[in-house]
């Protein structure tokens, strides 16, 4: 492994950011750049994945991520099938492994899997002989989200190294937070997490981040402020007492943002809870909010991931 241009992506699956090298990440981001340009043209379609079958297998509801993968697969010329498994077989008692075997028998080339339980995508990946992309597993990882966030930042700031990134909100239950922490620390950014103590997982500093419990110090001097969605089921009672209190202390508004660098940029993985974790005036600030760029980058990043995992399939013997 030397420089990114000569670097091959030596992983069969994309299950997480943890374990990827800086070269792996740079390769994916560089490839994504090309797709950003392609996606802005009138003719967006390529035939790189012609004949390949890509299955979106979502055990948890999602519109945005599933659509983004679907668009990515189709623009590369692949056949994309959407399966909403949450509604069908699991309720009948079929196990995850049974589902994996069933899907595997249809000879997909790539499975894109989202599941509400941490580790479920790893388990499924052990049972199939195609590439698997983790589209979010429980509170564990959501690698394509971190890649699209990194691409968004890199295009604006020209680099990731040395930037101060504050990730704010429900760190405990967030797969977006974990993937971003791994990616940004791997690429040399300084990562902070900012949240009330009930939403910070134990020993998270061992992942290479600094922990803050108030926005003023957590955001001080930050280049990037990344807000996380607060899941509605955690808003009342045991994690935070009320939306009002949460927004007062941890919601991003102009006043709290003032602690960050004057040109600090704002990100959010969506969908946003306006007035819970982010104020509309900040979210819609065209100069500073990158939220719509993130969605655009999502398609490009997913095209890059599909390319590196799927383009060379079928040249060797099937993996048992």
């Amino acid at each position: 492994m030397t420089i990114a241009a000569d670097h091959d992506f030596a992983h069969r699956h994309l299950l997480g950011i943890e374990g990827l090298s800086p070269d792996d990440i740079t390769l994916l981001l560089d490839k994504s750049e090309g797709y950003v340009d392609q996606n802005r043209q009138a003719d967006k379609k390529r035939s790189l994945l012609r004949g390949r079958t890509i299955m979106n297998v979502f055990f948890e509801n999602s519109t945005r991520t599933r659509t983004s993968f679907e668009v990515a697969g189709k623009r590369l010329g692949g056949d994309v099938i959407n399966m909403q498994v949450a509604a069908s077989s699991i309720k009948k008692g079929e196990t995850l492994i049974d589902t994996a075997m069933t899907l595997n028998a249809m000879h997909p080339d790539v499975l894109i899997v989202r599941h509400p339980e941490s580790g479920a995508v790893h388990l499924l990946a052990q049972k199939v002989n195609c590439a698997v992309i983790n589209a979010g597993d429980g509170s564990h990882e959501h690698p394509t989200q971190a890649l699209l966030d990194a691409l968004t930042i890199r295009r604006r700031r020209g680099k990731l190294q040395g930037l101060v990134v504050a990730i704010c909100g429900d760190i405990s239950h967030s797969r977006v937070a974990r993937s971003n922490i791994h990616l940004l620390t791997t690429m040399g950014a300084r990562v902070r997490v900012v949240a009330p103590r009930t939403l910070v997982p134990a020993e998270v500093e061992r992942l290479g981040v600094e922990v803050f419990h108030d926005m003023a110090t957590g955001l001080a001097g930050a280049d990037i402020v990344m807000m996380l969605r607060l899941q509605t089921e955690r808003m009342h009672g045991s994690f935070v007492p009320s939306i009002r209190e949460y927004f007062h202390f941890f919601g991003l508004d102009q006043r709290k943002l003032a602690a960050a660098k004057p040109d600090a940029l704002i990100m959010h993985p969506g969908p946003m809870n306006r007035g819970v974790e982010i104020d509309s005036a900040v979210a819609d600030d065209l100069d500073r909010s990158l939220i719509r760029h993130q969605v655009e980058m999502g398609v490009a990043v997913r095209m890059a991931c599909l390319e590196v995992l799927a383009r060379d399939l079928g040249n060797g013997p099937p993996i048992p």
């Binding site: 943890e18 339980e117 580790g119 388990l123 974990r178 134990a202 020993e203 061992r206």
Partner: protein, 429 residues
Amino acid sequence: MTARTLFRNARLLDPATGRDGKGSLLVSEGRIAELGSDTIASGKDVRVIDCHGHCLAPGLVDMRVELREPGREHEETMETGSAAAAAGGVTTMVALPNTEPAIDDVALVEFVARRSREINGVNIRTYAAATRGFKGKEITEIGLLSSAGALAFTDATAAIADALVMRRALAYARTFDALLIQHPEEPSLASDGDMTEGETATRLGLSGITPAAEVMMIERDLRLVEITGARYHVAHVSTSEAIEAIRRAKARGLAVTCDTAPAYFALNETSVGEYRTFAKLSPPLRSEFDRREVVAGLKDGTIDAIASDHSPHPQDSKRLPFHSAEAGIIGLETLLPLALELVHNRHLTLLQALRALSLRPAEILRLPSGRLVEGAPADLVLFDLDRPSKIAVDTFRSKSKNSPFDGRPVQGRVLKTMVEGRMVFEAEG
């Protein structure tokens, strides 16, 4: 079957008297008739076994197993459990009452006794539920269940969470001098948790259980033991704080005992690795620091006993995402070799290990076994202390194969197991 068996040329090991030396042992009428130097005469109708200098010790008394009968016989039956126990050198095992239905009624205690007689393998005894249906609300008929043969009272894998119910259970149990066994985990802190809280859980995105949940439940119970004067036993202790609390309680003279299971001195939380469900246990595997403290607790005797915590689950219950997978591992056939690791690593003497495996559990449960003395039941294990091998789960007699120890190199192999003078296991070759 010959009524008499003579073990010759054995290394006799008795944790009760501290005996460790060469000698012979004569079994007659299901009891140890004579033991001593190699001059015991054989005679007619005596099966003579040359032990080639291997260890002859009291059979293991495994004070914590789940047998799944009645109710979930596809996971384990008393018969397969008995065969596994015999192969593991266990001569008495005590079943947790968490079957379906729960053993919370005299008829079910009698059912276990009857099945044990029918199977005629190792001794199978049982605990009874401390509260009806393990609901933690109404105490069971502790007096009648004791008379029927229940050795102690426990809600198995559930903690008795309500302090008032626990106080009454302890006070009432004392009336009959019965023993209460607690699964030590404050349930509200442990609820929905997948593994020990910390870096590994955080990396894997799994919900963590604070190790403090263990000591909190124990310290509460110790106050109640102080009030009631009851006999109290803590199952599978796994944290340094819990062991320290029990150490202090013993120093104060409370009637407190505890056990641990091999997983808690042989593994730590890193065994979970990439979501290995065979490393999902309850209580969960702990930090390396806690693992070392479990070893220290065994060494200084704070931890009285080592139990297998045998918990059979079929493949289907383990081949699931980590959170959905069942907790627990089998242990009957790995109990002795894993405990002997502590001997080979010089943490325990051989007699200390045997004391924790046979004598202490027998004493806690007031059983006559666990001793190599004349008149004691001829419950014996003959084992080769040094023979190296790899744990091979597919050779196990247990119906379920959920063990994280498959492939682990160990030293020590059971050669023969005898229960009340009956040979219930003989190794091939």
